[in-house]
Amino acid sequence: MIRLSRCDISRRGLLSLSAGFGLTYVAGPALAAAAASKRKLAVIVCRGAMDGLSVSPPLSDSNYLSLRGPIAIRPDQALRLDADFGLHPKLVGLYALAQAGQARIAPAVAIPQRIRSHFEAQDLLESGGEQLYGVTTGWLNRTLVAMAPDHRVRAISIGAQEPLVLRGPAAVDSWSPGGREPGDLTRVKATLADLYQSDPVLGAALAAGLATEAQAHMMTQGQTVQARDERGFATTAGKFLGEENGPSIAVLSLDGFDTHAGQGAVNGQLATRLTVLDNVIAGLREGLGPTWSQTVVIVVTEFGRTAHVNGTGGTDHGTASTLILAGGALKPGGIVGDWPTLQSARLFENRDLAPTLDVRQVFKAVLADHLGVDRRALDTTIFPDSASAPPIASLV
């Protein structure tokens, strides 16, 4: 097994911190929320199972090159983070952040249940349940409720569809580019507001959508963002977060990570998606401006991919993957969590990178230390029955 001394330290830190947690966070939810009101969280969900072994190649793991063959990111190609890990060469912006102590990776993270269906795994990742079909709302929505039962803390979904992670009792804003208002619709809007009065969904949605649209128009000074301009998308998301009294949380989704065939290495299918991811992080930072220093960005996927390259130059559905943390509010540090190694005896079911960290441990740490969310709420309502998955220490 590779020795990674920092991991051992973080493990110890984890134990001591979780022991003292109840004392640290005695403040009620409203108080905690007030203290944290300027703190921002952006979550980027990479759908399709992002290949962690290419995002953060384990350069010193002696099995990596032979397992990965033509799709391995070789040490001379990777952007070196430390003695053991690198970043994919397309993640140049993220690498600069890491050099500045504003980005870290957790290389072996997984959801709490072993699932190889994208759709079920995304459901579990976003619902925050202990197992499938346990909860039907999203953990970020329940976070909003826990932080401020009066709905003062808000979130925004960036994109045409609202992801499960944000769904639930708290109303959530949403924004996506395109589709300008054709002429003056003042009368129509007023009439619809009336027609929608007793509608379970449409009234609140239209009102919130129009308010957000007006704000976006102000922020972008009437300039249109192109529908496929991911960076422009992300910049606008950053601006929403950075606004005075803006939302505290934003969620973006990226697709296209299901690289079963022709995955590529330095260039190719996955590299193209990672360029987009790098642009999205850069766009968020640009849009946030000075608020970047009070922001944490989480990049997460539903599961990782097989340790072996498959028969068609790609990888199949696996288990653990890399989670990326970025943002000015992050504490500098090395990798988060232990590295299980790629030795065949250590692979999960003899095929996948084994998880050493429950993804909820990272989510909980960011919610607790960054947004000031109450530990009890984290263990019970936000991530039900998750007391046995304590927040990891010293991230924020």
Binding site: D173, G179, V188, L206, A261, N310
Partner: protein
């Protein structure tokens, strides 16, 4: 105003929930005999084909291969030029460009023609891909024209359901040109036949083989595998089990998926090397087939070559898990996000008793009392919403990008481009984000400005919604200041947004 009769309510439900929204005059026909009108649309020959002469998958695929070869040689040329000029264009940006182009993306007009050699090559490359983009747009337009004008809208909705069930998507650039042919060749002919035939047609169509990476999957111990050190790709096997047949909750294991993937090896697509008749067509390559018997979900399948996977598909189609999975998806699509269990049970029985005869299942759906509740709980997906708007306007789209792809993308449902293999969501929550409602409003206002018909707006509301038109919407329409304003209100009314 007298209360609507049961027939009037049933007719209004038939045209919206089972159909695609009424065209002018359609409601009267449906009201006369709602169930009979629907049942008459069940056709053993399958769903209608979109209008016009569209190339088959073989021609589309060969054109794709040719364009890809052009693009690769241009890319090599561009790389050489770039090196010469020691320019700083990254290869990543180049490949991204080609993917966007192949997915039929509305390309920004070529940048100012200062015509450096690199710019010229890029422009040439875009030009080489234009026929592919135009082909995808033609497919999108033709099927929307069919949906907007068909007098058999239940038959069309039934076909659209099965296309979404067996999703292939232009989100994967290599599959993009085959999505339209897939729907025409694998789905439409079989939607009122046996599920097993539909499943086999879908699973072996070049579009599906390409979309779920089957075409290069190789048995590690096959002749080809031993020679080339190639191996399995389990994507298609997994999605057939999880999405198309038994469902993720049916208890299969990773080992079942791998075994099924081994059985599927050999199913592939012909390329130029295979000769003119085979290139671009689905074919079976025995030299890639993993030798040996396979065990899937407890049943053993001797090595019979191509018919090994076929036997597994037949058993998957006959499985009660598949009956339940299909029944539930149908009930969710047609009736409610959370469908009545009695309805699911009824459809499941119809499936099992008929050996998966989809005409029988369609009849059972029409006859199910649970499907006819007066409350409309299904929120229209953007495609349904746009198509039903064209239908009540008595119009059909003519410009695929401006009238279909662009607005539907902003509403979240880019045509033929579902983001993942599970297709478009059937849950209202996925389509009712605040921003999505604003996008619908903006589109409705623009559409009404172009399409508001000359007659009194209230006639339009009655023709669209019949007995489902509520007094508040009626009042709002009567009070509107202009025909476009009235039509916008009809389209955005809670009852028109649902079905």
């Amino acid at each position: 105003m007298s209360l609507p009769s049961d027939h009037e309510i049933a007719g209004a439900v038939a045209v919206s929930r089972f159909g695609l929204g009424a065209r002018p005059g359609e409601l009267a026909v449906a009201v006369a005999d709602p169930k009979g009108w629907l049942k008459a649309q069940i056709d053993r020959k399958g769903a209608d084909q979109p209008p016009g002469l569209l190339p088959n998958s073989q021609d589309r695929f060969l054109a794709y291969l040719a364009a890809r070869a052009d693009a690769q040689s241009l890319k090599r040329e561009a790389a050489a030029v770039a090196e010469q000029e020691s320019m700083t264009t990254t290869p990543g940006a180049m490949s991204q460009m080609s993917e966007t182009a192949a997915s039929g993306q509305g390309m920004v007009a070529a940048a100012a023609m200062d015509q450096s050699p690199l710019d010229r090559l890029k422009a040439e490359r875009r030009a080489a891909q234009k026929p592919l983009r135009d082909g995808i747009a033609a497919e999108i337009l033709a099927r929307a024209q069919l949906a907007a004008t068909t007098p058999a809208p239940f038959r069309e909705r039934w076909a659209l359901f099965w296309f979404n069930h067996f999703t292939v998507s232009s989100a994967k650039p290599a599959a993009a040109v085959l999505v339209g042919p897939f729907e025409r060749e694998a789905i439409r002919p079989h939607v009122f036949g046996r599920f097993e035939d539909l499943l086999y047609a879908s699973s072996t169509h070049p579009a599906m083989l390409m979309y779920l990476d089957q075409e290069r999957s190789t048995g590690p111990d096959s002749a080809g595998g031993l020679r080339r050190n190639a191996g399995l790709n389990e994507n298609l096997a997994r999605e057939i089990m999880e999405l198309h047949t038994v469902g993720a909750d049916s208890g299969y294991t990773q080992a079942d998926v791998t075994e099924f993937a081994r059985a599927l090896t050999g199913y592939s697509i012909g390329i130029q090397r295979d000769g003119e008749t085979l290139a671009g067509r689905a074919l079976y390559r025995p030299q890639l087939h993993e030798p040996g018997a396979r065990t899937v979900m407890g049943r053993r399948y001797p090595d019979t070559g191509s018919s090994q996977a076929r036997a597994i598909l037949a058993d998957l189609a006959a499985s009660p898990h598949t009956a339940g999975h299909v029944a539930r998806k149908l009930a969710i699509h047609f009736v409610a996000d959370n469908p009545p269990p009695a309805l699911v049970a009824r459809l499941r029985s119809a499936y099992l008793d008929s050996g998966g005869d989809l005409a029988v299942v369609a009849t059972a759906l029409i006859d199910a009392p649970e499907a006819w509740g007066p409350a409309s709980t299904k929120f229209k997906r953007p495609y349904e919403f746009v198509i039903s708007s064209y239908r009540i306007a008595g119009a059909a789209p003519t410009d695929p990008d401006r009238e279909l792809t662009q607005p539907l993308t902003t509403m979240g449902e880019r045509p033929m481009a579902a983001p993942q293999p599970n297709g478009w969501s059937e849950q209202a929550g996925d389509w009712t984000a605040p921003d999505a409602i604003v996008k619908r409003l903006n589109w409705s206002a623009a559409f009404a400005a172009a399409h508001a018909p000359p007659e009194a707006p209230i006639q339009l509301a009655d023709a669209a919604l019949g007995a489902r038109l509520t007094p508040p919407t009626r009042l709002a329409v009567m009070r509107a200041e202009s025909r476009p304003e009235a039509m916008t209100l009809v389209l955005m009314s809670p009852e028109f947004q649902r079905r």
